[in-house]
Structures are given as structure tokens and as C-alpha cells.
Symmetry: C2
Subunit: 189 residues, 2 copies
């Protein structure tokens, strides 16, 4: 097995443990045990639990940031931009729910420059979304509602999708994508 594959395996295993027990309660020993390897062998790949957290959280935050930057600067309508934001959250939730749980629950355990970097990305993400919404209100593409209510109603739903989607067995990916987009943009009435 390649070193990078092993590292990815460790990260995935740790993300699952963080979700089950909470970041603070998990030790490097727990991770080694769950992977059925010696602690010394774990330390060949990863320096600390903190390093794993950085790899999980920063990696996902950078992906959100990069795609949001593309969306904001794209030459499309406001509605299409919002639809792309919705699909971005669904994409990442379907691909990596454990990492999203880790991002949501444990980002505050980041330290120093990583914490600053994460908060900066999160604020810029919200600011980019805000600009899309404000421009849409200005253009009469979307309703003249309080922009913070729009932003945080949508983000609350999208950011917590990982909590419930996995439990709804009858719900297909296509239904999720189409119906969530419809409900968030055009409502349920």
C-alpha cells in the first residue's frame, strides 16, 4: 500500500471516530487500534491528532472556497449561481459526510494559524454568498427579503444536510438534488 493511501485511510478512520466519540475524546491510540496497527506505525504517517484535524477541515474548507470563487465570478444568473451553491453542498455531503461532521463539530479545536485561516475562509464564503444574494435582490432576480435571513436559512439547511440525509433510505440522490433546490429557491407552496 502506498504511503498516501495509508494516510487517507488514517484520515477517514479518524473522521469516523471523531464523529462517534467527539474529537476531544479520541486519542492517537484509539485511531491506531481502530486501524489495527501499532501506535508507532501510526506516527510514521501522522504527527498528531491535531494534524489529522487540519487535513480534514482545511481540505474541505479549501474545496468550498475554490468552488464558491468560481461561482461568484461566473457569468450566469443569480438563480444559477445559487443552484450551483446548493449542488456544491450536496456534492460534498454525499461524498464525505464524516469529514463534514468533523468540520461542523470540531473546527473550533483548530489552533493558531490554521484556526485563523479557517475562520477567514468561512467568512469569505459567507461574504461571497451575501454578494450573490444582494446582487440578485438589486436585479429583481430574487425577492426583497432580509439578505441575512436568506443566507442563513439556506446555509443552515445545507450545512446540516449530513445529519439527516443518510437516515432517509427512500430518498434518491436525484430527488434530493431537485427537491432541495426547488424548496430552497421557490418554496413549498
Amino acid at each position: 500500500m502506498k504511503v498516501n493511501d495509508r494516510k487517507t485511510e488514517i484520515i477517514n478512520c479518524a473522521a469516523k471516530l471523531f464523529k462517534e466519540k467527539g474529537y476531544s475524546a479520541v486519542t492517537m491510540r484509539d485511531i491506531a487500534q481502530a486501524m489495527n496497527i501499532k501506535a508507532a506505525s501510526l506516527y510514521n504517517h501522522i504527527k498528531s491528532k491535531q494534524e489529522i484535524l487540519v487535513l480534514i477541515v482545511i481540505d474541505i474548507a479549501e474545496e468550498f472556497t475554490a468552488v464558491m470563487n468560481d461561482i461568484v465570478s461566473s457569468e450566469t444568473s443569480t438563480i444559477q449561481k445559487i443552484e450551483k451553491v446548493i449542488q456544491l453542498h450536496i456534492d460534498i455531503t454525499l461524498r464525505n459526510p464524516e469529514a463534514l461532521a468533523c468540520l461542523n463539530n470540531d473546527w473550533m479545536h483548530l489552533t493558531d494559524e490554521e484556526l485563523v485561516y479557517f475562520i477567514k475562509m468561512r467568512e469569505e464564503y459567507e461574504q461571497n454568498f451575501r454578494e450573490i444574494i444582494l446582487k440578485g435582490i438589486e436585479n429583481n432576480e430574487i425577492k426583497n427579503l432580509n439578505s441575512e435571513v436568506i443566507i442563513f436559512s439556506m446555509l443552515s439547511t445545507l450545512r446540516t444536510l449530513y445529519l439527516w440525509y443518510g437516515k432517509k433510505k427512500g430518498l434518491t440522490e436525484t430527488s434530493l438534488r431537485n427537491h432541495m433546490s426547488e424548496a430552497l429557491l421557490r418554496g413549498i407552496v
Copy 2:
């Protein structure tokens, strides 16, 4: 000061500490210190941290349950029922954001019959909401979208309102009530 007032004070103080530090990290000693009383005096009012958690979480869950039961059995349209559910969440969020944070973050620290009772109330609440939505779809009062997508999109937004509402200084209560109801029911387009 009356005994009951003192108890309420203890509960409010504990809820704030749980929010700041996390339930697991808070001790009875911390609560006594924050209230500037002796630990022995605290124990005159409250047996344990667990008792405080029960008082906070079960109290709010019972309020949600009681109002939801009234809404479900009321003789009004589906839209009016959903509007009442939205206003219920906003009411409790505005009145007691710390207790809602405690309910959301710490309910899993309940034990034994209290945990069972809480989970039962939560499931019945979601089931009541589901019945409102399914009846509305059947009556063509609301769109034929996947009911789980509707339920959990709305509940995710309503249940996490306490996280961001307090930070938005320009947002009035009236705007929050009207605009959130409009966005969730009729969308933003």
C-alpha cells in the same frame, strides 16, 4: 429571594456555561463560582448537573410538544399550520437561545428514562410535522416534493436559528418573523 427564583437563576446560569464550555467540561463547582455562591448552597437547590440538564432540555421539549399537538389538531389550512410551527421556533429562540443551544448540543447527555422520553418527544414532533406536510401534499396545498426534504430543510433552519440570529444586529424581530416565513414557504425567487 424565593426558592424557585433561585432555581431558575441557577438553570439560566448553567445554560450559559454549558454553551460557552460544553456540558461535559462544566462542574457544579463552576456553576457555584459563576453565581458567586458556595457549592453547598448550590446543592440546597439542585442535586446534580444532570438534574439541571433535565430541567432545561425536557422543559423546552415539552413546550414544543404541547404547541405542536395544538397545531396538528387545529382546524386550519396546512399553510397556517406550517406558519405556526415557524413562529413557535422563532418564539422560543428569541426567548431562550441558551436553552435551545443546550437542547441541541447536550440532549445526548441525558440518561435513562429522560433520554428515552426526550427521543420519544423529538420523534413525535417530527412525525406530527410529517403528517402536516403529507396532508398538505395530498390536498395540493403544498408542492409534491419529497416530504423528508421539506421537513428537514425547514427544521434544520429553525433548529439552528439560535446560532446566528443574535449576531445580526440590523435584523428586527418583525423582519425575522415575516421574511423567514416567506422564504421557507414561498421561496426567495
